[in-house]
Amino acid sequence: MRINAFGMYYRKLNETIRACSDHNIVIDHLCGQRYIACAEKDRLFTLRGTPGNGLAQYMDGATVEVFGNCQEAVGDTMNSGEIIIHGHCGDACAYGMRGGRILIEGNVGYRAGVHMKAHLDHQPVLIVGGTAGSFLGEYLAGGLIAVLGIGAKGAYPCRYFCGTGMHGGKIILRCDKKPEALPPQVLVSLASADDLSELAPHVEAYCHHFGHDVQTLMAQTYYVLTPNPEASYKRLYTFE
C-alpha cells in the first residue's frame, strides 16, 4: 500500500495503516504525523519526509526505513525489529529500548539510549553514524550503543555526561584519544578484539545501508565504556 500523507492528520493516517493488511507500507510526504508503526509486528515500512514524534514506539518485529530526518522519541520501549534512518534523529531516541536495532546515518540528539536494557536473547543495539548529544546511555542497563563519529575528525563524538549512572551494557565510541571527564560510573578502555567482533556486524549493516567502507571504519580507534562496579549509585544524583 502506498499512502500520500500530505496534510493528513496522524490519527487518520494510523487508522489507514492499521486497516490495511499489506506487508509493505510506503508513506510519502510525511510532515510531523506522530506514532507511525507503533507496536507493529513483521511488516515493512518505507517512509519519506519527516515522520513525527514517537515513531515506532513499542515496535515488536517490524522494519522501518526512513528517508529523511526523524524527530523525538524514536523507538521508545521498542522490543524487536529494525529502524533505519537515512538522516539525523532528534532527542530521546531508543529510550528504554529492550531489543532490535536502530541505525542512524547522521547525528542523534540528547538522551539517546537512556535506560536501554537486555534480557537473554533480547539485546538492543543503537548505532549512530555521526555524533550524539549529552546524556547518551544515561542509566544504561544493557545492550550496545556505538557512535561512529563520522565527520567528527577523530574527536570525542558525544557531549557531556555520557553514560551517567550506567550499570550494564556497553558504549563504543570511535575517537582518536581516550575520552576524559566521564562520570565515575564509567570505565574506559581501548576496544578489545571481542568488542570489535561484537561491533563488526552492525558496522557492516551501517555501511550496507549508508554506503561507507567497512574495512576503513573498523580500522579506526575505538574506546569502550562499561559500568564501574566500584562507583555505582547508592542514591539519587543531581548536578549543580
Binding site: 510531523g32 519526509g49 539525523h88 571527564a181
Partner: protein, 373 residues
C-alpha cells in the same frame, strides 16, 4: 463571563509549540506563513492559548510605540486611556481588527494605540524613553484592574488569544500584515490558567518571548526580578523570563550571549573544564546573577528589533531545530514546522542545550538597538 484576570487554576500536563521565521535581508514575510508553520504541531497545544509576534509590521508608524491592550470592561478602558493621555500623545487609536470565528470566544475589548511619549513629563521624571514607557506598561498591568498591555514596542506587535494558534492567527487577520520576523506559540498550559493575557508571546517594549517548558526556579526568579521594579502579575513563568531578559539586556547592558550565560549557565563541572578566558567569564556570570539562573525545561525564542535569539535550557529538556535557506532562518520545536513552509532547507540542525542561536538583520538593514552581540 469570567474576566481576563481571574480564570481558574486547573492543572493540565503537557507541552507547547514554538516557531519563528526571520529574513536576514529584511524581506517582508506575510503573517500567513507563520500560521502554516504552526499547523503540523497542532497537537502540542490544547486550544488554551495561541499567539504571534511580528516585527516590521507597522512601517507607517515605525517611530511610535504600538500598544496592544486587552480590557475586561469599558471602565478599565476609560481608566487606562486617561492614564495614557496624561503621559503620551496619541498618533492613532483603534480597535485591533479581528475576524469572527466560532473557535474564539469570550473576547475582551482589544485596542491598539500608536503613542509618542510626552517629553516634558519624561524629562521631569529624569527617565530615558524606554524606561518611561516600560514603567507605564508595568503600572497599567499591576494597578489598573481589567486592563492589560500585551504589546508595547515600536514597529512590532503581539497578537494573542485563547484558542489554537491557527485559529488565533486567522482571528487577528495576520494575512494582512507583513514583517521581516515572526514568532509563534501554541499553548498547553501546565500549572497556570489558560486566559487571554496568559497566552504567549510575552512582551515588554520590543522584547518578546515565546516559551515551551515550565521553569522550576520561577519563585526564586520572581522574587529577584521584583526587587528591580518588575511586577509579575500574569500568573505564568514566561512573564518572569521576559522581565529577566529585559533587565539583563536593557538595564545591565549584557549582550545576548552573556544573557544566555546567566539564564542557562553551564554546570560548575562544565565551567571547571573550560579553557580561559571562557571559564572566568562563565563563572562571573553565574556568581553575579545566581538568582536569575533559570532551571527546569525550556526552549525559548526571544524577539527584538532587528533580531532573534533561540535558547534551550542547559539540559535541553525541550526540542528545538534550526533551518536555514538563503537569507531565511527558521526555528521551531519540531522539524516538520520548518519543512511545511520550506521543504528543502540548505541546512538543518539542533542547537545544544544552553547554546544561544542569535540571528540579526544584515548590516545593510536596520540593526538591533540595545541588544548588542
Amino acid at each position: 463571563m469570567r474576566g481576563i484576570h481571574d480564570e481558574g487554576s486547573e492543572r493540565i500536563p503537557s507541552g507547547c509549540a514554538i516557531s519563528s521565521i526571520f529574513s536576514k535581508s529584511g524581506k517582508p514575510i506575510n503573517g500567513e506563513r507563520i500560521i502554516h508553520s504552526m499547523a503540523p504541531m497542532h497537537d502540542r497545544s490544547n486550544g488554551l492559548g495561541g499567539g504571534f509576534a511580528g516585527y516590521g509590521i507597522y512601517p507607517q508608524h515605525k517611530d511610535d510605540y504600538a500598544f496592544h491592550v486587552f480590557y475586561d470592561h469599558s471602565k478599565a478602558q476609560n481608566a487606562c486611556e486617561s492614564f495614557l493621555k496624561e503621559r503620551f500623545c496619541f498618533a492613532a487609536s483603534e480597535q485591533i481588527p479581528t475576524r469572527k470565528l466560532s473557535a474564539i470566544t469570550q473576547e475582551p475589548i482589544s485596542m491598539r494605540y500608536f503613542l509618542r511619549p510626552l517629553y516634558r513629563r519624561m524629562e521631569d521624571l529624569q527617565l530615558d524613553e524606554s524606561e518611561y514607557v516600560a514603567r507605564c506598561v508595568l503600572h497599567i498591568n499591576a494597578q489598573i484592574d481589567g486592563a492589560y498591555v500585551f504589546s508595547s514596542g515600536k514597529n512590532m506587535g503581539v497578537f494573542k488569544a485563547v484558542g489554537f494558534p491557527e485559529d488565533v492567527g486567522r482571528y487577528y487577520r495576520l494575512e494582512e500584515y507583513e514583517g521581516y520576523c515572526w514568532t509563534a506559540h501554541g499553548r498547553y498550559p501546565t500549572n497556570t490558567p489558560g486566559w487571554w493575557g496568559g497566552a504567549h508571546p510575552f512582551a515588554l517594549l520590543d522584547t518578546t518571548v515565546v516559551h515551551n517548558g515550565e521553569i522550576s526556579s520561577y519563585d526564586a526568579n520572581r522574587r529577584t526580578i521584583e526587587m528591580f521594579g518588575y511586577a509579575c502579575t500574569l500568573k505564568t513563568d514566561t512573564e518572569a523570563i521576559t522581565y529577566i531578559i529585559d533587565y539583563l539586556t536593557r538595564k545591565c547592558g549584557l549582550t545576548l550571549s552573556e544573557t544566555a550565560g546567566v539564564i542557562a549557565a553551564p554546570f560548575w563541572s562544565t565551567i571547571t573544564a573550560m579553557p580561559e578566558p571562557a571559564r572566568s567569564q562563565a563563572a562571573y556570570l553565574r556568581h553575579a546573577f545566581s538568582s536569575l539562573l533559570i532551571t527546569g525545561p525550556f526552549s525559548i525564542i526571544v524577539g527584538f528589533t532587528g533580531g532573534l535569539m533561540a535558547l534551550n535550557d542547559r539540559l535541553k529538556l525541550r526540542s528545538m531545530v534550526v533551518g536555514e535557506k538563503g537569507d531565511m532562518v527558521y526555528i521551531a520545536s519540531e522539524e516538520c514546522a520548518i519543512r511545511v513552509i520550506e521543504p528543502e532547507p540548505d541546512r538543518i540542525w539542533s542547537p545544544a542545550g544552553g547554546q544561544p542561536v542569535i540571528i540579526t538583520l544584515d548590516k545593510s538593514c536596520q540593526g538591533g538597538d540595545h541588544h548588542g552581540l
